[in-house]
Amino acid sequence: MMAAPTVFSPGGTPVSPEKSRTIDVSLGPQHPSTHGVFRMNVTLDGETVVKLQPVFGYLHRNHEKIAEGNSWLAAMPYTDRLDYFCSLTNNWAYALAVEKLAGIEVAERAEYIRVIVGELTRLQNHSAFLGFILGDMGAWGTALMYGFREREKILDLFESLTGARMMCNYMRFGGCRCDLPPGWLVAARKVVDGFPAFLDEMEALLTGNEILLARLQGVAPLAPARAINSGMSGPGLRASGVDYDIRKVDGYGIYSRFKFRVPRGGAGDCYDRFMLRVLEARESVEILKQAMSGIPDGLILNPKARQRGFHPPVGEAYGRIEGPKGELGFYLISDGGTRPYRFRIRPPSLINLTVLEELCLGTKLADVMVILGSIDIVLGEVDR
């Protein structure tokens, strides 16, 4: 057998060709662009990514086990801590799954309130996203502050409604915890009416920006068939051109009553994933306007629905909603007791990462952060 040729480094030291070709870099867990404590073991050939292994679990607290040891209602505040940007939609998904499991009807007014707070959650998530992805591209701080300025207005609304800015713990089985305070709708309408102006401002600064286009267009395109097979959901799926919005498909809650469009991308690259959030936020504003003008008076909680000491009949249910980050589902099994027998969360943030390695292969190291940012994850939900 012939010996492998010896390669000499510039200093004259012999280097084996197998070892000199690639370099392993551990990105994270403490990295400003990983949106939390998330690590990627990246193998680089020069600057090009040839292998990427995500490492999870730094925030794992076994939420599912905690929920199986507590009453059905006690899991509600824990769901706030999944995707801590979107506690209200987390509440909604869990309440929806329990309502399916036990066959509970939701009060009419509560359905409208759910749509209003759910779409406001989407607006604040997407405005934060627009800031974060700019941060990932190196515009650290300024764009994020623009996004957060808008998010603060919505968090103020959440605070006056639920008492908390982020950990809202607002929904209940069959409705919501408390009614809208006086003057809330007027304040909310003001925020919603001002939101398109923020999007226009953001777009004027960003969407035609040469550097942004260079960093996003054509980076990591995802074909629709691959997106579906890899379990991509939410804006990431629609950016690849798949017409699938659970608000339209399932029409859960009262979404079938509202007129809105489902934006779709073409190339499925980072730019499409970025633009889709902008377009989706514009549609959310339309839904909000319809919901706020149509909200009826009445009860906010189904009086027949029990909260404390609640024990649904034996059975199981899978309930899902279109969360701001994708399909958020809860799979619940009841053995008739006061605790869930099985409590499972389908976390969109984790499952959307399935395709991360595929997207990153062959791109430059600097693009990895942008690709990760374009998927939009929160580690509280990835690790649970």
């Binding site: 999870f56 076994n62 399916k100 066959g103 379990g231 034996v314 009841s334 099985r342």
Partner: protein, 201 residues
């Protein structure tokens, strides 16, 4: 649901597939698929019936339990029929549950269940990651937390717990260790056990 069942049986006659009824009001019944044909059934569901989106994959731990059953038994010389309630032991098993949707047809969910032989030694089920890549991380999670071994999985490692961890915390009979390594400030029942142990030593 029964149409899907019949379509599967028509295409793969040797497959063991049965309907598991959901007694609750959600009406989401499921299909219990035998381990030998799970991969073939999954491929048929994806390619022919259009269930292209595997949304949710998880494990469920079923402990050994007793089921009460009423049977008729003939008794005495005149062979009189007597109603009798007997208790039947159901051995424990682990279960992998898949929720499938069709994005093309906008239908779903279809719930698939695949069961292991028991909870200790025979814990393998075929991995469906080759059919739906979205199962990759979720099957790893079910392996990590429940101890279900997915044969044919490309990268079956722990995902949430650390590599040196031995047990499977989502099992119903899992007992958290009370050696204070995982609890920096012991209290309640843990503190009582720790105190009892230090007094005995």
């Amino acid at each position: 649901m029964t149409e899907v069942l019949q379509a599967i049986l028509a295409a793969i006659p040797s497959a063991s597939v049965e309907l598991v009824r959901n007694p609750g009001p959600s009406g989401q019944h499921s299909l219990l698929v035998g381990r030998d044909h799970a991969l073939a059934v999954a491929e048929f569901l994806r390619d022919t019936l259009g269930f292209d989106f595997c949304s949710n994959v998880t494990g469920v731990d079923w402990l050994p339990h007793k089921v009460k059953q009423t049977v008729l038994r003939k008794e005495g010389a005149d062979a009189k029929e007597v109603r009798e309630t007997v208790e039947r032991e159901v051995p424990g098993f682990l279960e992998a549950v898949y929720h499938l949707y069709s994005i093309a047809k906008k239908s779903g969910p279809l719930t698939l269940r695949v069961r292991t032989g028991d909870r200790a030694g025979d814990v393998s089920v075929p991995s469906l990651t080759p059919v739906w890549k979205s199962a990759e991380f979720q099957e790893r999670e079910a392996y990590d937390l429940f101890g279900i071994r997915f044969t044919g999985h490309p990268d079956l490692r722990r995902i949430l717990m650390w590599d040196g961890f031995a047990d499977h915390p989502m099992r119903k009979d899992y007992v958290a260790p009370d050696d204070c390594e995982y609890e920096p400030t012991p209290h309640g029942a843990v503190l009582a056990r720790v105190n009892a142990r230090t007094e005995a030593a």
